[in-house]
Amino acid sequence: MGTIVFFIFAILAIAAASGVVTSRNIVHSAFYLALSFSGVAVLYVLMNADFLAAVQLLVYTGAVSIMVVFAVMLTLRGEVSDSNPENRKWGWGAFISVLLFAVIALVVLTNSDWRVLPSAWTSGGSAEDMSLLLLSQFMIPFEAAAVLLTVALAGAVILAKGVKENQ
């Protein structure tokens, strides 16, 4: 059962990701991106990371994709059906990507330490367990992440709004 669900959503995520990079229409790319993020969220559920799956759906599918769609709509000009073209050296990019994938696949498939099947999972990946870790072991990075988000918010507003010239 889990295997079938895994393959359905893994193939969905990968197909949507290839749609992101091959679609000529950037609005379609943005929607494929949301689909890919949702497929990955299901993979998190299969790996018993419930809280992360929820965060993935909220932050990536809900916020990041919508923000990308907004930016696309604000900067679109010309014909939308040709808004996402490849550059002249896309062949080199494809070559290097395929090469990297071959190397990673070789490493993954030949490493016998990683040929493990799932063991029974008793302790959860819920918000409670994560928060215990975040507020004890990882308190400093947690606070740093809070500062980072605040700074990024202020920086994004300042950058997008622009500075007045005559002051």
């Binding site: 990308v68 930016a71 050296k89």
Partner: protein, 114 residues
């Protein structure tokens, strides 16, 4: 072949992550629109998250360390935080550049070159 008996192991998740990462890498190399490049970057960060969670799920051993149980999930959570901050600042930059240049084509962003 009965698919139900075939369990999905760590290496399958790692291959899915590698596939997503390489697709994102191709997008970063091949795309002209800067927003498409940012989208591909998000795909790559997402692929790394899959790897973090998969290693945490499959390689954590209760007998060895009981305290660091969800470390991989926490790392993935921090990656999500950084990705959200990055996309916010990146898109604000894109809008600012678009306002000055009327373009989102990275081939035209060459005014630091001489």
């Amino acid at each position: 072949m009965n698919l139900g008996n075939l369990s999905v192991g760590l290496s399958t998740y790692l291959l899915v992550g590698a596939m997503l990462f390489c697709l994102g890498l191709y997008g970063v190399f091949a795309k002209r629109n800067i927003i498409a490049i940012l989208m591909s970057l998000e795909l790559m960060l997402n692929a790394v998250n899959i790897n973090f969670v998969a290693f945490n799920r499959f390689l954590w051993n209760q007998k060895i360390d009981i305290h660091y149980i969800l470390t991989g999930n926490v790392a993935a959570l921090f990656v999500i935080v950084v990705a959200a901050a990055e996309i916010a600042v990146g898109l604000a930059l894109v809008i600012t550049i678009y306002r000055n240049r009327q373009s989102t084509n990275v081939d035209e962003f060459n005014w630091l070159k001489w």
